[in-house]
Amino acid sequence: MNKMDKALHELGEMDDLAAQDSPIHRLSPLAKLLTTIAYIVTVVSFHKYDLSGMAVMLLFPVLLFQISGIPVRTCFYKLRIVLPLVMAVGLFNPFYDRAPLLTVGSVPVSGGVVSMLSLMLKGVLCLMASFLLIATTPIDSLCAALRKLRLPSMLVTLLLLTYRYVGVMTEELAVMTEAYQLRAPGQKGVHISAWGSFLGQLLLRSMDRAQELYNSMLLRGYHGHFHYAPGRPFGLRDALYTLGCCAAFLLLRFVNVAELLGRLLVR
């Protein structure tokens, strides 16, 4: 399976998850979008040594994953992209920040190790939150929410159209790549003699395709705007959810619940 097939598989998987039904799926997309942003901002704003304070933030995505019926492991596959990058930046911290910050048993732990771990935790938490948003919200409702936030209609329509065509183009390139590989056995990638023509051929065809797409849009009454289904209105439940979550995030940001819990056991 080549990269494009994998990408197609991932896209399909996300669409399937978003099409399910659960209390979280039924929330207004705007409420989910706002809460996700609030969550990410809160997580990222934690201090680099405040690992224990941040740990409590794990409960929010874990709880929502369970309510929405999405298995947590589905998002761990995506960590392969986030973690190496975060690690590459965080890896230097233990070398530069060597002052011991705390001792676990008799082993001193330096500030750099703590800040590296908290950086990784931040990466995981942010990924879980944005995964949850997209796994419980179909792209068209998300676009409707973006319109409600007054994003330019041109940008939102472009997002929707591009998303539609990402599937088409990726599939086409997957077929082309497979055909190429079959005729060039043992070769890792596209040979330099085909660097231009491989994508160029598809590019030329796509330009004509875009014209056809525009014609078909016109035939369906397109006149510069897309009409979105009204979707679920932002009701009392959504307002309560958003406000409740934001209040909880603020509270967890300033009160170190993990430490309070720990004090029950350790003096």
């Binding site: 990269k3 494009m4 942003i37 990410i40 809160t42 990222v44 201090h47 040594y49 405040d50 224990s52 740990a55 794990l58 409960l59 369970q66 947590v72 998002c75 995506k78 992209i81 990058l85 975060v86 930046v89 070398f95 530069y96 920040d97 750099g112 800040s115 950086l119 990466g123 942010c126 990924l127 944005s130 997209i134 330019p152 940008l155 472009l158 159209l161 591009t162 998303y163 065509y165 990726t170 390139l173 070769q187 990638g189 596209v190 330099i192 660097w195 231009g196 994508l199 051929q201 590019l203 330009m207 875009a210 525009y214 849009m217 006149h223 940001r253 170190n256 619940v257 819990l261 720990g262």
Partner: protein
Amino acid sequence: MHMADALLAPAVAATMYVASGTAAGLSVHKLKKDDEPQKLPVMAVTAALVFAGQMINYTIPGTGSSGHMCGGMLLSALLGPQAGFLSMIVILAIQCLFFADGGLMALGANVWNMAFYGCFVGYYLIWRPIMHSRWFGEGKGAQRARIIAASVIGCIVTLQLGAFSVVLETSLSGITELPFGAFVALMQPIHLAIGLVEGLITAAVLVFVFESRPELLRELDAEGQTLPARRSLKAVVAILAVVALLVGGGLSLLASSNPDGLEWALFGNAEEGYAENMGLDEEDFGVSSSVADTAGAIQEKTSFLPDYAFADNDTPVGTTVAGVVGSAMVAGVALLICLAGGFFRKKKKA
């Protein structure tokens, strides 16, 4: 080069959102003024193509490795800077939402690092001047040389600017302990090599388009001749100013005798409590001065959700042990929630 949310402080992320948002707003305004409704599907299809095209592995001759295509330069050569910029935003948004490549909060920064430089700098400062330059002579070969030169120089320059911005944003966020200079020395050479390869691949694709449908490329007509120049000095000057401000600001940070000190003054002030409490070596963080104090005071006032969690602890070690135990308990609760969720789901299915 996609940055994750964890690598940015909220204040830096918000600044980058404002910067990218402004550029996007101006682009939408310009495209609305042009009023070409048929351009939207072309943008969407090309963006989807570039998205997929970036997954193709191109073998680099003589080495075992492979390279990828540079989207920003290709899009601005095909669609123009504004439409290319919007298409890049959409590509980055889809990568971030569906493939976890880059973060939701870091999207503003990613758009700036990859789309702004690739499209606006790449087009106004590189593609257009080179396509109009007389230095290459006349004829088809000269046009080909122009396209190759513009692609390669464009990719190298925009990638260097992008990599430099990544370093600047990460350092300003106070994420890494790596000194600014060392970080720059690490990032720039890697991206020089990447830029060269990406430039050659992009050039190959653009030359192929030029051979069969030259009118698809900006600044060229159906015969492959360069169109008469339309002057818009305003855009060139504005972009030059933005780039000069950023690079100049960054380089002054680098040239300062104690870059860590500046960083500390700007962003580490809330940690002052640590320097006293935890016995950290203050020299590691640089010296304090009246300027540093003023900057720190400003930062303290404007900082988003300042850090209280540690600053007022009297017995840091005692409380951190409680923190470790508490965190373990939180992990336990999280696991319980998972188990309970699994249990109820199974029950529902049964």
